[in-house]
Amino acid sequence: MILRPQAKNFKTIGYYIGKILIGIGFAELIPFLVAIFLGEFEPALDFAIGASITLIFGFIFQIVFFTDRSIEKIEGLTITAISWLFAMFLAAIPLYLSGHWASYLDACFDSMSGLATTGLALVNDLDHLSISHNIWRHLLMFIGGQGIVIVALSFFTKGLSGAFSMYVGEARDEKILPNIIHTARFIWITSLIYFILGSSVLTLVGYFNGLSFFSSIFHGVCLFMAAFDTGGFTPQSQSIIFYHSWVFEVVTIFIMILGAVNFNLHYCLWYGRRREIFKDAETKTFLVSLGVLGLIVGLGLFSAHVYSDNLSFLRKGFYQLISAHTGTGYATLYAKQFISEWGDVALMGMILAMSIGGATCSTTGAIKLLRINVLFKTLVNEIKKAILPERAVIVQKIHHIKEIILNDKLVKASLLVILLYVTLYAVGALAGMILGYPFLNSLFESTSAAANVGLSCGITDPSMPNALKIVYIIQMWVGRLEFVSIFAILGVIIASLKGK
């Protein structure tokens, strides 16, 4: 029997959404202060208005839905999914007020793209956007990458059971420490330490590559936030091409990979268990898939005679591949060049890389390396079963932080998520084709949106149909939250209609 949700359930959901909105409202004060400091008074007003509206919503939710109940599992998941939508609408306000987005829908698109660490953008005249608005775009990636709810978990939440469901709702099903609040805090502390180190390195690289001192700090901070959170926004319209520097490319490759690594492995690294990194199934899968996909992209580029020398191949082919595989979306070539120059084979290699993504419990989206590993181990198991005698017992293990036995439950869960992602990629591609774009272009852009990558082959543009913008927003949202929270919302809606 399905139980209809009661008023107390909706009150809890509303109350905690209010808490999260207050967190976002306070986050808007960072670009506000930057704007005041730099004398960007018009943008400061945009953030003052944006923060006020967000805080007003937060307080209204807290007053109207006041409760001291702790969160139940289904409530936690619903809170996460709905919070992300509210966050998109409210974080878009200062962007829209800047006048650089043609419509509020476009601002919402970029806001979701930032929060979901995708990197697709509809901003106009980015090169003349204020520094504070640029900081906000990149900060959205930093907040979204660690998880909006993790902010709330770290600072506001007391109830542990509900906290875990909110954490899981943001596509993180692995605890690093026994206590979930401590896990959330570890993720933030790790990210902040990497932020200081990474931004400093990028600042130095920028300074020695011709940027002024202030610009190098600004670019260093922005690039780190977008690279570590595998986001892909950049302060200039040309992405990484703007810098014309291989050193920038090497450093960003390193940071992108760091962002795609499981936070559990960061924990091992911090506590001196370095061997764990090379023993882990996800690292091995990453190296193998990088090799195979590198071969596909390489063969594609070689057969199409795209680059004449090895260095060009590395700076263009390998960089784009790493950017796709880690789900970042930084580019050292123009969007249209993918279609006009790369050829179908290389493009397919890129689509596959985007569809796989990075590690579980990292800032990347997509299917994730662990599930690909499970898929192949299952395939090997089935082959073994066919070869070996019927009585033979096959025990397949995966080393992921600890030894895990490959059981039916794990296999089923992994295959289900893979199937859901493939469906999500296909639905977006179909939408693109219905709206008049060619098959490969539609599949490329759809995979990029749903896997939260951000590479574009030229479809994402302010002039694209509004329907497609909405499809991509939904794909980014669903892809980032990995379905569980979305199913929770559907469950609550069905229970409200059919429950007793």
């Binding site: 960007e40 008074f41 018009e42 007003l45 945009d46 003052a48 208005i49 006020s52 509206i53 805080l55 007003i56 307080f59 209204i60 807290q62 007053i63 006041f66 001291d68 007020l97 090169d127 003349h128 956007l129 204020s130 520094i131 590559n209 011709g210 940027l211 002024s212 610009s215 200039q236 319209s237 040309q238 091409i241 703007f242 810098y243 014309h244 520097s245 291989w246 795209v306 680059y307 004449s308 020398d309 260095l311 060009s312 191949f313 590395l314 700076r315 263009k316 070539l333 123009y334 249209k336 060049q337 006009s340 120059e341």
Partner: protein, 166 residues
């Protein structure tokens, strides 16, 4: 006499045009890079960001309204550009003549233009940002509502604490 002058001007124009490089946009260069590879082109747009110096040359990115393309130019040419576009500045509009590379071998695969000639078509300037009074008024109203709600929230919490003590 007049018709002879017109004919002379027409022939001169045709003659001079043949000697000139092709005028292109960033869209044409990016979408048909192979077609323009190693050809001399004329490109015009706004210098953005800042000049990125490299020994005796520098990189300047020039945006023509559609996309920005990287220009590789000498320090002498670079020094002719005074304004680079950003939030506070409209950059100099420059016109350059140079050789376009789809995948430059000197710069390991960059799509760029090696500049031979540069002229500033229009000087850039500081951008004026007019303070929007409507936005200010909206903020004041919102801030008042926010303060009211904040007070309500505090009162509600105090009331809750009192009832718990009882």
């Amino acid at each position: 006499m007049k018709s002879k002058l017109v004919l002379f001007l027409f022939i001169s124009f045709c003659f001079v045009s043949l000697g000139f490089a092709q005028r292109v946009t960033s869209k044409e260069l990016i979408e048909n890079a192979a077609g323009y590879d190693l050809k001399e082109v004329v490109y015009q747009g706004e210098a953005i960001g800042e000049a990125l110096e490299r020994a005796d040359h520098c990189w300047v990115n020039v945006h023509d309204g559609n996309a920005a393309v990287g220009l590789w130019l000498s320090q002498d040419d670079c020094s002719k550009i005074n304004f680079f576009g950003d939030y506070n500045t409209t950059g100099d509009t420059i016109e350059i003549k140079g050789v376009f590379h789809r995948s430059c071998t000197q710069h390991s695969g960059e799509l760029d233009i090696h500049v031979a000639e540069l002229r500033v078509v229009e000087q850039g300037a500081k951008r004026e940002h007019i303070f929007n009074r409507k936005k200010m008024n909206l903020f004041l109203v919102l801030f008042s509502v926010l303060c009211l709600l904040w007070i309500l929230q505090i009162l509600k919490l105090l009331q809750r604490k009192k009832s718990l003590r009882r």
